[in-house]
């Protein structure tokens, strides 16, 4: 098992290396003239040249890349053009806020969607299955900005139950719901669709398997068959989907944080993009990719620990 995980870890690092190259190419090479891209068309040639020199983008590519990557790994991510603060401090601050929002959404929606997915599978082809499947399909279809605006109108504007603009909550659990419920609803809708669908598929597959037939033909009670024999195997693929979708969640955060004015990393990405704050943009995007890789790795580890077939493989 450790060898399997070691291999995964090495692969993850190779992938991260590719990630950094892609990011570097996109952010530093694609614009052609970085200084012009940041300052816009109205800056003078002298200003652009000065900025280019300040950023070091007038140096050779390879050198720029190694400086940038080395800096990133040492935690020296440069300074924000606009906020004039170290990028690392801003990014981690915002990341922490986003983790609270994302974690809240996941905590609520993962058990719910697995539950409904399994419920649908156990009632395969009957009305609960139809309702859950169609609901899941429709919820996937609604972009976060649409659902976000809807809940904003209904609960913040019309009913006035919850604030239209969310802050980072205090430790009070009531405050968690008050601040985070609205911005997390758009995220949860999309997650529900994917996770419940995977849980349903996995469970149906398991229900049709030979080992479940064996369990039934052993005369085991239905509860035992489902809890011991079906779910143990059917939820394994769901783990992978959850990790992938958690990565996706970060994309959703861009929209929902903007909409609810929540100071998270998604909003930071968008703001820095719109304002051409390149150091911030570059670092946060890389941070998001690292986070995603870490999540996939975590899912792999979990999957391995729960699956004896992989766990015990020589």
């Amino acid at each position: 098992m450790s060898r399997f995980l070691a291999k995964r870890l090495v692969l993850a690092f190779v992938t991260l290396f590719c990630v950094s190259i892609i990011l570097f190419l996109v952010a530093q090479v694609m614009p052609g003239d970085v200084g012009r891209a940041i300052l816009g068309p109205y800056a003078t040639e002298v200003q652009v040249r000065a900025l280019d020199h300040q950023l070091g983008v007038d140096r050779p590519l390879l050198e720029r890349y190694s400086t940038w990557l080395g800096g990133f790994m040492r935690g020296d991510w440069g300074n924000s053009f606009l906020l004039h603060r170290p990028v690392a401090a801003i990014a981690f601050d915002r990341l922490y806020n986003s983790l609270i929002l994302g974690g809240f959404a996941l905590l609520l929606i993962v058990p719910t969607s697995i539950g409904f997915g399994v419920l649908a599978a156990l009632n395969y082809g009957k009305w609960p299955d139809r309702v859950i499947s169609v609901a899941g399909l429709s919820l996937i279809a609604l972009p976060e900005f649409v659902t976000g605006i809807m809940v904003l109108v209904i609960f913040a504007v019309e009913l006035g139950w919850l604030p239209a603009s969310s802050h980072v909550p205090s430790v009070n659990p009531l405050d968690w719901f008050r601040q985070l419920l609205l911005p997390s609803i758009p995220l949860m809708f999309v997650l529900f669709g994917y996770i419940s669908r995977m849980a349903r598929t996995g469970t149906i597959e398991s229900l049709r398997s030979n080992y479940v037939r064996t369990a039934i033909l052993k005369g085991l009670p239905r509860r035992t068959v489902i809890w011991q024999h079906v779910l143990r195997n059917s939820l394994l693929p769901t783990i992978t989907v959850i990790s992938v979708q958690t990565g996706y969640l970060v994309g959703g955060l861009v929209v929902t944080e903007t909409l609810f004015n929540y100071p998270g990393i998604g909003k930071l990405v968008l703001d820095s993009a719109v304002q051409h704050d390149l150091p911030v943009l570059q670092a946060t995007v890389l941070l998001v990719a690292v986070l995603y890789m870490a999540l996939t790795l975590l899912a792999d580890v979990l999957y391995t620990l729960l699956n004896p077939r992989v766990r015990l493989a020589a």
Partner: protein, 696 residues
């Protein structure tokens, strides 16, 4: 002629009684009958066999008995009684108390039948906890005891293992342990050994035989293999297209069939004395009627050699055709006198010696991976093959048969050694070989479902082959070539315009054979070409291969796990074990002593319907891990004639028995021959040294 007598009037007591069972599957809006008026019963402690080809409804019977039919199945009529309980009306709660308790089931592919994420111990203990009311500790103890009963070594350790850590044979033993845990009244076995290797199959069947003396369960034994059923069961029923067409004691039903279909089944398998140059196989003409086809009269009439007008009009009732025997044939009296329909072959393929070798494989090796995980799939393999000769290649899974074929044909890149073909040295991969050599060396594959491209019609497949293999020619030439190829493999013209999904398994294999023959090959490698086919279809394919060989003087390297088929077809035979050739020689020599102890074991494991079973040579343990083959003689860990340290330490030499027959063993022919001849005449068990089960 005897008077018709309905089956139901036979004594219908017993552990299990099925009465007039009719089952349909609903497909879209139609009900397609799969079982029609099936009645039989099983006495307490009796083993009843149910045989038939695929699609005849065997498994539906098993699932109906366990009350586990698919959701779209409907019991139209009839009853299934397990002693006093009518299973067709039993409720869920009642079924739960019956299943796994009073009736249990073991089926094909134990690997998928066990839960991959629970330990063996837990899965067996469950049965004791729910049906025996034992607590966790007591249930685990009982599970360990049961593992001992099914002859699994070191039960305490085995309890903590997961299914994937067990060999196929061990997995099936665990299934038996689970099924017999509650000492059930009825044990349903649905192809319990299909997919296992011959020697493992023999072990499992031995186990079943032994367990029968310990447990009192009646057995419903379902199999496509007549030999196994003949050996395991007291009585047998033959299913055809959902109807029980004949029933009787197993000895009599196969030696003296009273239904033309049963007769056809026994005749299409090659028996011990049949050889391709003397006897043709006798296939059953036509094919199984499709599911749900409404048939007037006897369902077998379209394929029956003695069918008359009456057979096409009236459905034959069950006739008493002998003591304890029933046949659904109006003319069951005439069945014994039905002549062999197939004529003997006029010419025998001459062993035109002195032509020189067509194929010479020297010291071929194939290794996968590196370091500690290196697997040696082929180790120092040398064979030679003359023009027009058939070399049979036998051995169990993992022995390297297919690897050898793929290296020869150039689909795999050999790691060492040389291949000479038609006097030329062959490049390792097909892509690098000259076109004229490539077209002389073709292959027929095992799986009819994947051997043809599903999106191309048969005509397109053959036209492409003709274009690439028969060098040039105009479009008209190619068309003519395709027509003649199709005729050679007895394909009808309308088959040519169909895509593979509309062709039956046998027809698909014919297209595949035609494709291989498009360039008039000198050598065709056949990798288990009939193993996925039913026996009646297998017979036609084997006949076809023999015809092509005689007419075109092509040589075959014929791989099969079925020794009966190899004996029928091969001029010479090579036996492989763990990547090595351990015996090679003329077919008759290999099949008679002295021969390698492994060959001896393989032969004794063959189930047959036409002779009384001799004593069995039992192999202990499982195939060792090819990444870590045993030292000395590779077979020593399982050898029934194990000598001692010499086998463990020293590589065995080739022993030359007679001209062209040699085997790899420390025992010389002069000693081995007499010992093996004696073994076949002495009672069972003498030469069997019990040995602990070793796991890979």
């Amino acid at each position: 002629m005897s008077t018709p007598q309905p089956l139901a009037s036979l004594p219908q007591s017993g552990a299990l009684a099925i009465e007039h069972l009719t089952i349909s599957y609903l497909r879209r809006d139609r009900a397609l009958p799969v079982l029609t008026d099936v009645s039989f019963h099983i006495e307490p402690g009796e083993a009843y066999g149910l045989v038939g080809e695929s699609g005849c409804g065997k498994t539906t019977v098993a699932m109906a008995v366990m009350c586990y039919l698919p959701a779209n199945a409907r019991i139209e009529a009839g009853r299934i009684r397990l002693q006093e309980v009518d299973l067709t009306t039993a409720g869920e709660a009642q079924l739960r108390s019956l299943r796994g308790n009073r009736m249990a089931m073991v089926y094909q592919d134990a690997g998928s039948a066990l839960n991959p994420s629970l330990t063996i111990g837990r899965q067996i203990a469950e049965v004791y906890r729910f049906h025996g009311g034992l607590d966790a500790a007591a249930a685990t103890d009982a599970a360990a005891a049961m593992l001992e009963t099914v002859q699994i070594a070191d039960p305490a350790r085995m309890l903590r293992r997961y299914p994937h850590e067990l060999s196929g044979g061990q997995q099936q033993r665990v299934m038996f342990a689970m099924a017999l845990a509650t000492n059930p009244d009825l044990l349903v076995l649905d192809e319990p050994t299909t997919g296992l290797d011959t020697t493992v199959e023999a072990e499992v069947l031995d186990l079943v035989a032994r367990l029968r003396s310990k447990f009192s369960a009646s057995i419903l034994f379902i199999s496509h293999n007549l030999g196994i059923v003949a050996r395991m069961c007291e009585r047998v029923g033959v299913l055809y297209a959902g109807r029980l067409i004949e029933e009787g004691p197993s000895r009599e039903i196969f030696s003296d069939p009273r239904h033309p279909y049963t007769l056809g089944l026994t005749r299409c398998v090659p028996n011990r004395i049949m050889r391709k140059d003397a006897n043709r196989l006798d296939p059953i003409p036509g094919s199984l009627p499709p599911l749900g086809l409404a048939v007037q009269g006897c369902v077998y009439a379209p394929r029956c050699p003695i069918a008359r007008a009456r057979c096409r009009e009236e459905d034959p009732p069950a006739f008493i055709s002998g003591p304890r025997r029933v046949s659904r044939c109006f003319y069951h009296d005439e069945v014994p006198s039905i002549p062999q329909s197939a004529e003997a072959l006029p010419s025998s393929p001459a062993n035109g010696a002195s032509e020189g070798d067509l194929l010479r494989v020297e010291r071929l090796s194939k290794r996968y991976g590196a370091g500690a995980n290196q697997v040696v799939a082929l180790d120092d393999v040398s064979i030679e093959l003359e023009a027009g000769e058939v070399l049979g290649l036998v051995g169990e899974s993992g022995s390297g048969k297919s690897t050898l074929a793929k290296c020869v044909v150039g689909l795999l890149d050999a790691s060492g050694g040389e291949i000479d073909f038609a006097g030329r040295k062959l490049a390792r991969l097909a892509d690098w070989r000259e076109p004229q050599l490539r077209r002389k060396l073709q292959m027929v594959f095992q799986n009819p479902d994947t051997t043809l491209n599903p999106s191309h019609t048969a005509r397109r497949i053959l036209t492409r082959a003709a274009r690439l293999l028969s060098a040039g020619g105009s479009a008209v030439d190619r068309e003519r070539r395709v027509t003649s190829l199709a005729a050679a493999v007895q394909l009808r013209p309308h088959h040519l315009d169909l895509k593979p999904s509309f062709l039956s398994g046998g027809l698909k294999q014919r297209v595949a054979i035609a494709r291989a023959f498009a360039g008039s090959p000198a050598l065709v490698l056949c990798d288990e070409p009939t193993s996925a086919l039913d026996v009646s279809v297998q017979a036609t394919i084997l006949n076809l291969l023999v015809d092509l060989q005689t007419k075109q003087r092509v040589a075959y390297l014929f791989i099969s796990h079925d020794l009966g088929v190899v004996r029928y077809l091969a001029d010479r035979i090579a036996v492989m074990y763990l990547g090595q050739i351990i015996e090679i020689g003329p077919a008759q020599e290999v099949f008679s002593p002295p021969h390698h102890p492994y060959t001896e074991a393989l032969l004794s494991a063959m189930p047959a319907i036409d002779e009384s079973q001799g004593p069995r040579i039992k192999l202990s343990g499982t195939m060792p891990n090819p990444a870590n083959p045993p030292s000395g003689c590779r077979f020593h860990t399982r050898c029934p004639r194990f000598l001692g340290d010499i086998c463990r330490e020293r590589n065995p030499p080739w022993q030359e028995d007679r001209e062209g027959h040699r085997y790899r063993c420390h025992i010389a022919p002069a000693d081995l021959g007499p010992a093996q001849r004696e073994a076949t005449s002495s009672p069972a068990g003498d030469n069997n040294r019990p040995r602990a089960e070793t796991s890979p």
